[in-house]
C-alpha cells in the first residue's frame, strides 16, 4: 500500500464567461472612476484552499476536480481552475 501524504490544492472559481456579472461590472466602474481607465473587465469569484491526503499529486488533483464538479462550483453558472498539488 502506497504511503499517503498531504497535498495542498487551490481552486479558483469564477462566473461563467458571458453571464452577466453585476459585481464585476460594479467594481469595473469603481476602478474607472478612480482613474484606472484601461480596465476592461473584472470578475469576482471564490478562492478555495483544500488540504487532502492522497497517494500522489495526480490523485489529489483528480479528487479535487471531482469535488469541484459535485459541490464547489455550480456547473450552470461557474467555471473553475485547479492549481497543481503542493506536498506539505
Amino acid at each position: 500500500m502506497k504511503q499517503h501524504r498531504v497535498y495542498r490544492i487551490a481552486v479558483q472559481i469564477i462566473p461563467r464567461a458571458g453571464l452577466l456579472d453585476p459585481q464585476g461590472n460594479t467594481i469595473t466602474g469603481a476602478l474607472h472612476s478612480l482613474g484606472f481607465k484601461h480596465v476592461k473587465s473584472v470578475h469576482v469569484g471564490r478562492h478555495i484552499v483544500i488540504e487532502t491526503e492522497a497517494p500522489d499529486a495526480l490523485q489529489a488533483e483528480t479528487a479535487v476536480q471531482e469535488m469541484c464538479e459535485k459541490l464547489l462550483a455550480n456547473p450552470v453558472t461557474e467555471d473553475f481552475e485547479i492549481t497543481s498539488a503542493v506536498p506539505l
Binding site: P22, N74, V76, T77
Partner: protein
C-alpha cells in the same frame, strides 16, 4: 391532505408557510427537521425561504446534502408535489430537481418588495385555480433571485410550457423595469419536467391574509388542495 414543511438551519419562512397552510388553507401541516429521514406521510413538501446554512458556498448548495433532502428527492421522483419557494427554489436547483440556477440580482441589491406576476401556465397542479394571464401581487425578498440557464434549457422550458410565472407590470406587460432581478425571460417560477415540482422566488405564503394585502398567493395552495379533492 398533509403538508410537510422542511426546516433547515437558517430557514426563516417555515413558520409563515405553516400558518398559511393551517390558518388560511385549513389543511394539516407538520415541520420536517433537516436531519430527519422520514417524510411522515405528507402529501406535499414545501421547501421554504430563508438562508439555509448561511448561504455558505452558494445559496442552497449545502442544504441539498441534508438527510431530509434524500427523502424529498425520492418523493419528487415518485411524482409527489414539491413547492420550493425562494431559498427552497435555490435548493431545488442545486439538488437537480429543477434546471438552471439562481444568481446575484442584476442590481446587486437585496430586494424586499411586492411585485406583479403573470400566470403563464394555469394547467399545473399549483395553478389550476388561477386564470391564464392573471396578474398577481406577491412579495419578493431575495439577493440571489436572477434565474439563469443555458440557451437549450431556456428553449426547452419555453417549448414545454414550464414557465409558470413571469415578472410583469401591474397591467401584465413584460417590461425591463418590471423584472426586479434581471432573470432571463423574466422567469419568476418554473415547474419540473413532470410538473410536480414548482420553484419560485416570490413568496405566495406571504400573500394569503387580506389583512396584509391582496391574498393572491392563496389560490396556489387551494390549487394543490383542489387536485387531491378530485
Amino acid at each position: 391532505m398533509k403538508f410537510g414543511i422542511v426546516t433547515f438551519p437558517g430557514s426563516n419562512c417555515d413558520y409563515d408557510a405553516y400558518r398559511a397552510v393551517v390558518d388560511q388553507l385549513g389543511a394539516e401541516a407538520t415541520y420536517l427537521w433537516h436531519k430527519s429521514h422520514e417524510l411522515e406521510g405528507v402529501d406535499v413538501v414545501i421547501l421554504p425561504g430563508g438562508f439555509s446554512y448561511g448561504d455558505y458556498l452558494r445559496a442552497g448548495a449545502i442544504a441539498r446534502f441534508s438527510p431530509i433532502m434524500r427523502e424529498v428527492v425520492a418523493h419528487a421522483r415518485r411524482g409527489g408535489p414539491v413547492l420550493a419557494i425562494c431559498n427552497g427554489f435555490q435548493i431545488a436547483c442545486e439538488a437537480g430537481l429543477l434546471p438552471g440556477a439562481l444568481v446575484r440580482n442584476a442590481g446587486m441589491r437585496f430586494i424586499s418588495d411586492a411585485v406583479h406576476l403573470r400566470v403563464e401556465n394555469e394547467s399545473t397542479m399549483f395553478t389550476s385555480q388561477y386564470e391564464k394571464g392573471a396578474v398577481l401581487r406577491i412579495p419578493i425578498a431575495h439577493g440571489e433571485g436572477r434565474y439563469v440557464a443555458d440557451a437549450a434549457t431556456i428553449a426547452r422550458l419555453q417549448d414545454d410550457d414550464r414557465v409558470v410565472f413571469r415578472y410583469c407590470d401591474a397591467a401584465g406587460n413584460l417590461t425591463g423595469e418590471a423584472n426586479p432581478n434581471g432573470s432571463m425571460r423574466a422567469i419568476a417560477g418554473i415547474v419540473s419536467d413532470e410538473g410536480n415540482v414548482l420553484g419560485m422566488m416570490p413568496h405566495p405564503e406571504r400573500a394569503v391574509d387580506p389583512l396584509l394585502g391582496p391574498p393572491d398567493g392563496l389560490l396556489l395552495f387551494e390549487s394543490l388542495l383542489a387536485r387531491t379533492a378530485v
